[in-house]
Subunit: 93 residues, 2 copies
DNA sequence: TGAACATATGAACAGTTGAACATATGAGAA
DNA sequence: TTCTCATATGTTCAACTGTTCATATGTTCA
């Protein structure tokens, strides 16, 4: 059980950065490639790529290759649930 | 909306530390004072108090005074929901 | 094969964070 | 008031994190 505490903290650590949250929100609208994400967030490609790697390692996103491009999408519904409940907490007084 | 992204990241930042998660799990069992928490986590009082302050600022816990002791408890059901969904994600393959 | 494009990776640097220590505040008892 | 007990606060420091820059990998097309 104590292991799980660390895993859980690590999971939330992934949600604790605004860049990653913005990426996740973008992906709520469907899969996108790295250039699209970089453009929409006005961030350089390297920064986005690094963050996508973090998201991937936590199984929050999955990837498929299409030619030269890599398309990222949310890997399961937990992401949406977590964002939603978090937002509910924020919006309450 | 962009403000909310930062607020959301800040909220999850609070969940991103194993000490704070352990405190929250303890409080799932009902309100506890600072000494109880320090003892159960085998941590010094100052460290626990600092983390409780962080939890309080995010409205994740609330406090009441009883004599010399301060009793902390979870402030709403979002905490339990967030921990639960996070744990579901962890336990899945 | 080589050029061009898309993405990933490694290193370095600034900014942030949790724990520990020392000390301060506040409440109850004498 | 003074002495304890319970908790909070301020400071310091080592460890960690996100971004940037430079470069590498991998894919398509000619």
């Amino acid at each position: 059980m104590d292991d799980k505490i660390y895993d859980l903290a690590d999971l939330f650590k992934v949600f604790s950065d605004s860049t990653r949250i913005r990426i996740l929100y973008l992906l709520l609208g469907g899969e996108k490639n790295v250039s699209d994400i970089s453009d929409e967030l006005s961030m350089n490609q390297s920064a986005v790529s690094h963050q996508l790697k973090t998201l991937k390692q936590s199984d929050l996103v999955k990837v498929r290759r299409d030619g030269k491009a890599m398309f990222y999408s949310l890997s399961d519904s937990h992401v949406e649930s977590i964002l939603k409940i978090g937002m509910e907490h924020i919006l309450e007084e």
